[in-house]
């Protein structure tokens, strides 16, 4: 029972909800997706084969967002635990019936689309943690037993995702979940301890290489190697990073122009329509184009944060901020990766990379953000509100 339910005297009803949505955020999202269509069209060599399905998905995603926005935020809170449980079951299911793509078990073929439960988990986890902290009295937040619970909530799906194996999503889940705990007010000391522990773990992973107790797969070690020194193996494992940097750098200030990017058109770029799509944007539209996309992303975050700060409800604020952080991690990891700041871990660029699951899940998440925005309790005189 949250504060919200007792203070919803002024919440928009019916079609009023549509007007009460955060339209600036919708426009920003649409603009970002629009950039995605342009780049996908270009990357396909002036062909609609990727841009068109991506548009349908975005249309479907917009529908999902609107529907989610209309649903009261307390409904989302109430189904959080269920959503989390269901996603866990799906994650377990891909272990057994999942299809393999890119060397890892990741999706379930639903016929009309391929569902990646690990994508869904990014949202479910945020919901679950927000609901947990909504339920937990703030005074107990930093007590060890109550810190352990969300840690388990985070680590169970992380373990399953790591088994696929999908290092990129695992990192996103851990950092995203951690960010929600941080927002909820868990004591600094825990984070300091975990960061110290993580440093220790990284050392252990690197030390375990080649021994019987090797902690991660060989290909993941190789990605680390090539990240640290891509030039040593320009035609082998370092090829992706080297070519990606060449594409980015050769764009210069203003880029080579629409459809003029040679690196992508001539297939020097790997995964040019998915994980490495940012390089084509940067190659064809230059520093200005790349910066524009980054600004759009940061504006989306900013609008989420501003929206969250006006919310009096703990769940709504945590969900909005948690989703904003998850979204941030998405593009931050992807951009770092293609610019050679982070190892290649296989994280797509949100709203832009070609892909169904990620797009739909992201739009669902923004729908929940919109729902929190629409259903926030308002002070007297704020907006045109109806009595309940």
């Amino acid at each position: 029972m949250s504060y919200l339910e007792y203070n919803v005297a002024r919440v928009p009803q019916g079609l009023q909800k549509v007007l009460a949505m955060n339209w600036a955020l919708v426009l920003l999202i649409a603009a970002t997706a629009g950039i995605g269509f342009i780049v996908l069209y270009s990357v396909a060599g002036g062909d609609w084969r990727w841009a068109e399905p991506q548009m349908y998905r975005f249309g479907l995603g917009l529908g999902v967002m609107f529907v989610a926005a209309m649903i009261p935020i307390w409904f989302w809170r109430n189904v959080s635990a269920m959503a989390y449980g269901l996603t866990l079951v799906l994650l377990l299911a891909v272990e057994f019936v999942g299809s393999t793509g890119g060397g890892a078990q990741r999706w379930i073929d639903l016929g009309f689309m391929r569902l990646q439960p690990s994508e869904l988990m990014k949202v479910s986890l945020v919901l679950m943690l927000a609901a947990y902290y909504d339920w937990l009295p703030p005074s107990r937040v930093s007590r060890p037993q109550w810190v352990l619970v969300p840690v388990v909530i985070i680590l169970v799906p992380v373990f399953l995702v790591l088994k696929q194996p999908d290092l990129g999503t695992s990192i996103l889940l851990v950092t995203g979940g951690g960010a929600v705990m941080f927002l909820a007010g868990v004591h600094w000391a825990y984070f300091a301890t975990v960061i110290a522990g993580a440093v220790g773990l990284v050392t252990a992973v690197l030390q375990s290489r080649g021994t019987d107790w090797q902690l991660i797969k060989d290909y993941q070690y190789r990605r680390i190697d090539t990240f640290l020194n891509p030039e040593t193996d320009p035609l082998g494992a370092g090829y992706h990073i080297t070519q990606s940097k060449i594409a980015l750098g050769s764009g210069g200030w203003t880029g080579k122009g629409f459809m003029q990017g040679t690196q992508a058109r001539l297939n020097f770029l790997p995964e040019k329509h998915t994980d490495f799509i940012f390089t084509t944007l940067a190659e064809e539209f230059g520093f200005i184009g790349a910066l524009s996309l980054l600004v759009l992303y940061l504006l989306i975050i900013a609008f989420c944060v501003v929206s969250a700060l006006r919310m009096k409800d703990r769940f709504a604020a945590l969900v909005t901020l948690g989703i904003a952080v998850a979204f941030f991690l998405f593009f931050a990891v992807n951009m770092s990766m293609v610019m050679g700041l982070a190892p290649v871990v296989g994280v797509p660029l949100p709203l832009v990379s070609y892909g169904g699951s990620a797009m739909l899940v992201l739009m669902l998440a923004f729908g929940i953000v919109q729902s929190a925005h629409v259903h926030r309790p308002r002070a007297a005189g704020e907006g045109r509100l109806l009595r309940r």
Binding site: K245, I246, Q263, F268, F287, L294, L298, L318, F328
Partner: protein, 646 residues
């Protein structure tokens, strides 16, 4: 449960504070990303742009057509033919085995080439690899028609070297072949053309020594290539420059006749124009078909050439070194006459041998020649006369005269492995043998035995110099790209004309006078006589026991222990045009084995075609006719223009 309002307020403030911290961290990371973008796209833009261009733009070399080699009358000796081949890109062939099977159904495929190509395709799946070479036009058409069902297969047209006159030119022109690792290691030749597939480079002979002239310059094609190496479009083309055409001094008809006349003998003949040094024919026998080497000779074929005791791979024209035997006697005579140690009319008595330093030196004629003067010494080739001269003139004068006449030096001819030969002197023996020169060495040298070694080319140069009185150098290349090369005349020899006339008269008597060693090979033509000198050089020492038994008739010895037969000559006697040298390895006596060949070749050169029978002495015409008609001549060359055109 209704929340405590105070608690709610506190928690909201908490979230706000942490949200701002996290927001700040995000903004900071955003700034980091911008910084990185700026670094890559603004600071390093030029560098990466260059790398991107290098990625996409590839320069493909276009092989220039190799220069054509002509004979002095414009007949093609080495040309280029269009060849048809089929290449395949593994990446584009869905199922290589299936495509190859289909291809095999259409044309014959050489298994060796195919297997090599398949291995190469494994290594370079994106590049075109030749899977069948030298197809006929029909085969190429068959493949071209079926291309839609042969993914990855491309019919191609290329150029390859061809030697239309085959074996006549194996030693003069040599051949081209695939670029070898050794060719690539050559520091002086860093031409990127060598790296292009199917490129042909001169291996031996003129093809090799004129490589820089014949090769030409590569053209280039700038293409845009995708990451898989597939060409997307052509960006530009720079035309190359064909190799320069070369005209040789060789007369194809004479060359063909000479080659046929030498037959299967292990022999060599050089014909030179004494007025300008032009080499009109240079033949080493037996020969082989250089075209075999262009395509890559088979192992058994190569083994057969390599193991043949007549050494067909050996270019005897410039590499074959022989003791010149009696053909050296002109040199000894000139050296002694010029030094004034003897007068032409001075006579020496030849009892068949001469004892010097307790060693007995024999004349070839066991009974001796009696009293011998200069003319008779040449005519009858008396060895004792020259033993006497050697003691008077000394080795230094003889060596000096030999060098002036072109021996002991590698003439700069456009062939490979041109030998220096050997003109011995005191210094040479001291440094190379660690022994002092003894008078016996001079005696041996005086009759062209002992240490003296000369190649057929050097003997021809010597004869040309004797005949013309000019310091003639051989010239093989007449013009390059239409630009004439300088003639081989380097001014007068500086030998007193009366002495030269004396030697020439001696050589005339060899061919024409009673008792002359080559009288059997005289001309029987009014106003046309020739001069020459026979030689017979021992390849082993005759033991005293053999000499006593009298068993050293060449016919009784195994082939490889018989004497070399030599002959040098020039014609016409009164107005010299052509000089010739003939060496027949293990041929026996020069007068029997070498002089008749020289006569036939010389008559061909003089008459510009098959020698007329009436040039032969009456009694020999039947034999000559039989021999000449049995020669396997190239009919296209026999009726060609004569060599009389300079």
């Amino acid at each position: 449960m209704k929340r405590n309002a105070e608690e709610q307020r506190l928690s909201t403030r908490h979230i706000t504070r942490r949200a701002l911290i996290l927001g700040g961290a995000q903004a900071a990371f955003g700034a980091l990303l911008v910084g990185r973008m700026n670094h890559l796209q603004v600071d390093q833009a030029d560098e990466f742009l260059l790398l991107a261009e290098e990625n996409r733009i590839k320069v493909r070399l276009l092989a220039p057509a190799r220069g054509v080699i002509y004979d002095r009358h414009g007949r093609i000796l080495a040309g280029n033919e269009q060849i048809y081949r089929v290449s395949m890109i593994r990446e584009d062939a869905d199922d290589v085995d299936e495509v190859v099977t289909h291809l095999r159904g259409l044309v014959r495929l050489d298994e060796d080439t195919l297997q090599r190509a398949l291995r190469e395709m494994d290594r370079r799946p994106h590049q075109a690899v030749t899977i069948a070479d030298r197809l006929s036009w029909e085969e190429l058409s068959t493949i071209a028609v079926n291309v839609p069902s042969l993914p990855g297969v491309t019919p191609e047209v290329g150029l390859s070297r061809v030697y239309p006159l085959g074996r006549d030119y194996a030693h003069v022109i040599g051949y081209v072949g695939r670029v070898s690792d050794r060719d690539l290691e050559n520091e002086e030749d860093r031409d990127p053309l060598l790296q292009t597939p199917q490129f042909q480079i001169g291996k031996i002979g003129a093809e090799r020594s004129l490589e820089h002239v014949l090769r030409g310059k590569a053209g280039s094609r700038r293409v845009e290539q995708n990451a898989a190496g597939r060409i997307m479009r052509e960006l530009g083309r720079t035309p190359g420059q064909s190799g320069k055409d070369v005209q040789l001094t060789i007369d194809a008809g004479l060359q063909n006749f000479t080659q046929a006349r030498l037959g299967l003998e292990s022999a060599s003949t050089v014909v030179m124009d004494v007025r300008n040094g032009d080499v009109l024919a240079a033949v080493s026998s037996p020969s082989y078909d250089p075209n075999l080497f262009v395509t890559g000779i088979s192992v058994p074929d190569y083994a057969e050439l390599r193991d043949n005791d007549h050494r067909p791979l050996h270019n005897k024209i410039v590499q074959g070194l022989y003791p010149p035997g009696s053909t050296f006697k002109m040199i000894t005579l000139l050296a002694a006459l010029e030094a004034g140690e003897v007068s032409p009319s001075e006579t020496f008595y030849c009892p068949g041998h001469l004892t010097v330093s307790n060693r007995r030196f024999h004349c070839w004629k066991r009974g001796g020649h009696g009293w011998v003067d200069a003319a008779k010494s040449l005519r009858e080739s008396c060895d004792v006369y020259y033993y006497e001269l050697a003691q008077k003139a000394g080795i230094d004068r003889i060596s000096e005269m030999a060098r002036r006449l072109g021996l002991g030096a590698a003439h700069p001819l456009e062939m490979t492995s041109v030998s220096e030969g050997l003109v011995p002197d005191r210094d040479w023996k001291r440094t190379r043998r660690g022994e002092e020169w003894v008078v016996g060495d001079s005696l041996n040298a005086s009759i062209g035995q002992g240490f003296v070694l000369a190649s057929p080319l050097q003997l021809a140069v010597m004869t040309a110099r004797l005949a013309s009185g000019l310091s003639i150098s051989p010239r093989l290349v007449r013009s390059v790209d239409g630009q004439a090369r300088p003639s081989g005349v380097n001014g007068p020899l500086g030998i007193n004309r009366s002495l030269l006339d004396l030697v020439r008269d001696g050589m005339y008597q060899v061919n024409n006078s009673r008792g002359g060693t080559a009288r059997g090979s005289r001309f029987d033509m009014a106003g046309m006589k020739w001069a020459g000198k026979t030689g017979t050089s021992q390849v082993r020492n005759i033991t005293a026991a053999e000499r006593a038994r009298g068993v050293f008739r060449n016919e009784d010895l195994p082939w490889n222990r018989r004497d070399h037969a030599l002959y040098v000559g020039y014609a016409p006697y009164d107005d010299p045009r052509y000089a010739i040298s003939v060496v027949v390895e293990h041929g026996g006596g020069g007068s029997k084995a070498a002089a008749p060949i020289a006569r036939d070749v010389m008559l061909y050169a003089l008459s510009g075609g098959i020698p007329p029978l009436d040039a032969y002495p009456r009694g020999q015409r039947g034999q000559a006719e039989a021999l000449l008609s049995s020669l396997n001549l190239n009919p296209e060359l026999g009726q060609g223009p004569g060599s009389s055109e300079a």
